[in-house]
Symmetry: C2
Subunit: 386 residues, 2 copies
Amino acid sequence: MKFNYYNPTRLIFGNGKVKETVDYIPKNIKKVLIHYGSNRMIDDGTIPEIIKKLKAKKIEYKLLGGVVANPRLQKVKEGIELVKDNDIDFILAIGGGSVIDSAKAISAGYNYDGDIWDIFIGKAKVLEENLLPLGVVLSFPATGSEDSRGSVINNEKTGEKRSIGSDYLRPAFSILDPELTRTLPRRQRFAGIVDMFSHILERYMEDNDDYGSMDYMSEGLMKNIIEMAYILKDDELNIKALEEIMLSSTLAHNGILGLGRVQDWASHNIAHELSALYDSIHGETLSIIFPAWMEYVKDVNPKRFIRLGQKVFDLGEDIAPEDTIEAFRTFLRDINMPIYLEDLKIGEDDIELMADKCTKYNDIGSFKKLNKKDIINIYKIAAKSK
Amino acid sequence: MKFNYYNPTRLIFGNGKVKETVDYIPKNIKKVLIHYGSNRMIDDGTIPEIIKKLKAKKIEYKLLGGVVANPRLQKVKEGIELVKDNDIDFILAIGGGSVIDSAKAISAGYNYDGDIWDIFIGKAKVLEENLLPLGVVLSFPATGSEDSRGSVINNEKTGEKRSIGSDYLRPAFSILDPELTRTLPRRQRFAGIVDMFSHILERYMEDNDDYGSMDYMSEGLMKNIIEMAYILKDDELNIKALEEIMLSSTLAHNGILGLGRVQDWASHNIAHELSALYDSIHGETLSIIFPAWMEYVKDVNPKRFIRLGQKVFDLGEDIAPEDTIEAFRTFLRDINMPIYLEDLKIGEDDIELMADKCTKYNDIGSFKKLNKKDIINIYKIAAKSK
């Protein structure tokens, strides 16, 4: 086992904590870019309250909203221009993973001379000593970007969805106020739950029978997410469950459950192609692809599937890998997630194109190394119920 | 649930990683205090190798060894003088929790004008902006100090053992090289395991039936520690288990399993009085006090004891709190830990004195608030087997 873990993000968690946001902006900051998505955070008073406090502290600000799911490169470029033209020295991202990822990309790009996309396709590196500091107010627990080292951006011109990662992209602080998630639309709420659950699975699915602390702790968090999801299914504003889900988003993806692990991430890459092409909701694409990936790779290490079924889905002694996959799909169906492409009315016409793009730079995954043909097979399994 | 979590310690984990230690010392550092305990880290070549690399980088150094278990205030004062007299600008702590705690106290005290003990008894605060940066090479996984915000020091003149805590006392980096624990004496190894296990329990023992992610993840880590302890019992140099135990020390006490929790810490405080008076090994005092504390407080929330028994000690359906306590003592006995004061040849004469000191500033604990009389009762339960 080996790892190098560095995570200096301050997490401020609790109902009502959004009120303290401006207190965490460093004293020397003069001008803030408020980056956000839809008007939800304006309508519920969050952004107006923050602006009032910025004014009281004589901190100037610029607004840049309109970040959409699968955040667009064009918006990132707009943000970079705004930062440069206005001598902005801090970004405050108010929203979910798309807003945070867009903010991280602005932070990584404002001081880079070329096209920011260079960094996403590996032509240039994140300039770790030259990033714009970033604070987060999380409104949508899902991607874990509030405490993660990554950013995923859609290039709407090339139809590519690519990521960058660096410990220095982690936010300076993240406000985790579960009250802010009360107004979240139901479909997003449950897609977010699938996303965080998948982040644990991507780390957990290792071709290994030598279980340790990472396995036990991951199983614990997955089990709790399932329990909380069922509570929210019937009682969508249950505050205990909203708190647990917000915390889980962060714990699932800040790296603490991936210490020393190989990690897979094939399902994320395969799912990303769906979002890139059809602009599908990230958590919904994972809900379709992850079980299909499982079907395709289960023979590599049936024992790990059996353990997952026993420890997370409570399946008891005598089970096969297929039982785990079925239990996973049952859970996803229970929280009204799509589990086949047909559920999103996506056909099979673009499968080859997506598999091609997915392996453009290299084969993917580690549990089983997957080439273009493998990925075509996985999309086909994902296409429709048998 | 609410919390404010900030942990900027870089963790560098892996066999052989000790070789990279000097690479993590910041570039501007001119003179390092190498702080250590016994000669174990000299004899095994660790400190000589580090000195060679410091010399190659033209970084000066001073040596201060001789830190003992239950680290002494006098040694801290010696370190502070050494730092002041030699313009030392970095401390490298090479050892276990005692060495790291001593180094943290030096860091907290070198710039404070008065007596460093003032900070431990609350007469002064840790000067968070004026700390000396600290790097760690961990040789003895137990206290979690390598990634924690605390330091515990013994005042040998007053017979008091007291702690300080601040996020700014967390080390800049910690090298976690499991190979370094191969030469650890058996008694220390297992006392360390009890210590880390207790750190999880102190957070887990909450008067609450509303279980969540912290419970599930804590149960997972405790279960894994027990499994690894049994492996090491028969195969003391099993590298997988040495790795898992080193990681567990860190995860048990870096705060990630205490997010939003009330936390108890009565057992630690009661155990500290034994170390202060008899210089007993910290993990061994916990091994005696924790089960005794459990017996005394179990009726406050029997359900939590039952859950602990089921999830961590695999006790099955129909159990009582007493079964959990018995399983805990069986585990401790199996790894040759003392479970009563008589096992350490400690009598009952000082019980009142210790209870008095333990509640000198206030009653302790949260699962059940304990006064002097309660603590006398717990020491009596701990005295000998029935």
